[in-house]
Amino acid sequence: MSTQAIADTPYRGTEDLYRRKWTWDKVVRGTHGTNCAGTCAFNVYIKDGVVWREEQQGQYEQLGDVPDFGPRGCQKGLRHHKYMYGKQRILYPLKRVGERGEGKWERISWEQATTEIADKFLDYATEYNPECISYGSGTQMSVKLASYASLLRLGNITGITVPEFFSGVGDLPTGSYMTLGQVYTGDTFASVYKSKCVMVWMSNPAATRIPDAHFFWEAKYNGTQVIAVSPEFTPTAMHSSLWLNPKPGTDAALAMSMVQVILRENLYQADYIKEQTDLPFLVRTDTKEFLRREDLSLYGLLAVADNVYYMWDESTNSVVQAPGTGRADKPFGRDRRKYGTLELGEIKPSLEGRWIVDTLDGEVEVTTVFELLKEESENYKPENASEITGVSAKVIEKTAKIFADADPGMIYAGYASCKWLHGDLLQRAMLLLLALTGSTGKEGGGLQIANSPNARGLTQFGFSDVGPAFRLISSTTWDYDHADMKELNQKIYGNDLAEKFDRYYKKSIEEDWFPDYSKNGWKMGFFAGNNGANWRATGSTWRKTAFEELETIVSLAPDMGVTSLYSDYVLPIAHHYERNDLMLQSRVPYLQVLNEAVPPLGEAVDDWEANRRLAEAISRRAKERNIKPIQDAVDGRTVRRDYTKTLELYTMGGRVNNSKDVAQFIINASHGIPKISFEELSQKGIVKVEGVESTMWEKDESPYHNEIVKSVKKKLPYETFTGRQQFYIDHEWFIEFGETLPTFKEPLKIDEFPLRMMMGHARHGIHSTWRDDSFLLSLQRGEPDIYVNPDDATNRGVQDGDMIRVYNTAGEFFAMAHVSSGIQPGMLFMYHGWDPKMFKGDKNFSEVIPTGGLIKPTSMAGDYGHLGYQPLAFAPNQTYKDFTCDFEKSA
């Protein structure tokens, strides 16, 4: 255990220990691989194999004339040197010896763990199909490029199901996809500084984007209007120019009212919307469908030409084909962008008017989307919207005019905008505001939610030598197929809604618009970097009817949480300073390294190595058991799976042996990353990505998506059915549900429960990571607390600090009342991420959130250009917000 050396200096008391200067063995570059989007460059100080402290590296450059990105960091990252040695760490492979959830474990060897897991894996894969084995990766793992690449490769080789977490946690901007054909519209954080008016909507960056929030305040000092929109008074609202506090879930009415003001006052940018949007496109008033070629000629009945749309040309007073539409090769997608242009040329499209057009059905009346929009917006005059939202009509008017006057305007929207059942309608309304003001696609403008690296390096690594045979699935519909979600809907929202949603769900599957996951069952689940049992919006339903029904559960995690607690095997995973990896987040134009500053604690290993050990065991056991190759089918292609070769394939025949090799592969193969050795990156910590000359991702050389900027600046058609920013969707389901245009719909509620419970990201944790840290808890109330309005508290005899019971028909949980006048009456607010084990009875807030079965029918529409299942782009979000509850003082 030790090598002995006798001290050579006399010791006479403990003061002698402290007379010696404390020195560091080394200082290493690093960061925290969590999904805060921060990727903050840190210096990590090491002595005797231990991380003692970290410090912000702070060597960032400016982008042009905007403030720089550094120094970056927050209190959570600065606490990690302590947290990584905390009691929550999983240090050894564990096997459950008690009942699930009982917390009784046996420490076992890696060899025993992987052998037993491999045997079960082979049993399920050969008896059923590898599809029945899922490998969920939460962001703690998937934002680390080498780690996620290792899963991509393992999944591709073995055929296991990999649920995508984007829609799974309700973060998928489906409204953005419906409108723009893209979900990746975000720029660097510095773009905030370039905005003239930024609406911070359903977001709280002062608390949740600590390293970047300065851009908002610097912009404000520079004259930018920063307008916060949130029902509760947030730390962001506190510093903003103006705060709007709509009632929870009424935001779309607010947005549509701003639209109404802008239209009424003629404050819109007509040239922009005529070229970039479908607002001048003609719609038949009889069918509510776009006027298409098949309406006008027999030739048009050929399905290949059904993406031809028309405008009314003022100069010729006739119907003309809209430029950039009508390519017969493919209804949507990047290929068509090669051909078309949005350039109007001599055409002068009318925005307003009604005309009679000769069609194959005879004479029909047509009008423009713009006209229909005006009609729709009349439902949201400020005085009407004020009744819905609680925001005064004057404030709505004022805000709309400020926003319209800004060139450009920006909407910085949180992922909360995706978590409502009708979040897509809100996003469509937000994009409408941005389109009317000509802001989308401009530096300092547009909808800022997300961007993501072009995944070339990842996919090349995942598919190299073997080709793509990867099962990436929508976890929301997977859950609907495998848990009792319809029954949950019946219990909470009644039979009518449950039957209706179920009918559309099944119809979508029957039509092959969305895949059917019910055929092979769900037998085994791996959960990596993923507290999957904590974030499902189903109370205990998912846990009881799906998760706990799994025959084998394997968790791979650095820290103990409720998912590991219910697992059969828990494998210890290295923490942020114990691994080599890469981080690339679009908000910051730098590639960031994670270095193995110290060896992983205990028997922890990084994700690559954990998967390598699994691959080795699968290969070994397949050989020992003489398992023959199986025939699998993915996306209509037959795939031969020979599990004896799993390790060989995983390591590319021994060419890739550790996460450094993976990282280097990704650097070499990725677009927009300087070709640098991992060793050099390790020394530097950060390196600026390519193609970043402004605050937005507009260069092809950059590693991020820039399709929307190209559409605006190069006039290339959008990847939507209409080739435009599409605000009118004439899919039969959208017509049926009255959602052809952006509009407002009341959020669902549970009868007899008056309060809406809102949640948001926390200042003192990143999801469930660091949420249980003792020091960070000491900066809060030391235990989970929930914010309540003073009047609501008084009416229930509750005082600040009291323990309260929050309940509805789904369940109950207990938390400390945090009475605050920043919370409007009729709502509760709780920061998220608290693990169930921190609550009485191991029951956290998710006990009262019964929304996981609310699969929005229109989010499962298909056979309509860009609408149809697209992993990580178009799939129904898990809904989190559409419920109500109540509270009472607890004994």
């Binding site: 255990m1 090598t3 006798i6 010791y11 008391g13 403990t14 040695y85 009691k87 999983i90």
Partner: protein
């Protein structure tokens, strides 16, 4: 005041080896059985020259009844794994809820006296078995040192007082509340008795001399 030891009472040549052996014994007994081969122990082990009464035969009789797999299971369940961390953390820093500077103090002791841990153990410098091994290390240093026994003697006393005596009694208390009859509880009962006796004996061998100048 300057501290000195009374070598007549201390009798390092005869007392050090049995004391070091007991510290080493406890260090091994409280190491993870997942990381050590099974110990070969007999209850007739003697500690000749030990300056105070201490008998471990009953504890060893108990210990050797358990096979290695059983010990692994018990050890892990108490000290290594649990749904909210191990039920009784066997690391001082964790047991005392990570107070500031605690690990730094330990490392300063180790560094000062040249006690180096292998890489795989460095992160758990506060593990009970390692702290006990450090005591063994200091006592052997005392035995081997020709010209500065005092450094090792005072180091033992200070480390024992600042660390082991500071947390082993509450550690035992928590362990006892979980399972009084567990073999590891019995080991720590003996350990506490030994540490207290050793501390008392060490204190008796140290005197304070006023060296203040006029």
């Amino acid at each position: 005041m300057e501290r000195v030891t009374n070598e007549v009472q201390r009798q390092s040549e005869t007392t050090a080896l049995p004391r070091a052996t007991i510290y080493s014994l406890f260090s091994q007994l409280l190491s993870s059985p997942h990381e050590l081969k099974p110990l070969s122990l007999t209850s007739d082990i003697s500690f000749e020259g030990l300056p105070f009464d201490f008998n471990v035969s009953e504890m060893i009789d108990n210990y050797i009844k358990y096979d290695h797999d059983e010990l692994r299971l018990r050890y892990s369940g108490l000290f290594e794994v649990g749904d909210d961390g191990p039920p009784v953390p066997i690391r001082e820093d964790l047991f005392l809820a990570q107070p500031a500077k605690l690990r730094e103090d330990i490392v300063r002791f180790y560094d000062y006296f040249g006690y180096q841990l292998d890489e795989e153990f460095q992160w758990q410098m506060d593990h009970l078995s390692i702290e006990l091994e450090f005591m063994h290390f200091l006592i052997i240093g005392e035995l081997r040192s020709d010209n500065d026994k005092l450094s090792f003697q005072l180091g033992q006393y200070d480390f024992l007082e600042k660390h082991l005596i500071n947390w082993v009694p509450p550690f035992l208390k928590k362990l006892s509340t979980l399972d009084e009859s567990d073999i590891y509880t019995k080991i720590v009962i003996e350990l506490e008795e030994f540490l207290l006796k050793d501390q008392f004996w060490q204190k008796e061998t140290i005197s304070h001399k006023d060296v203040a100048g006029g």
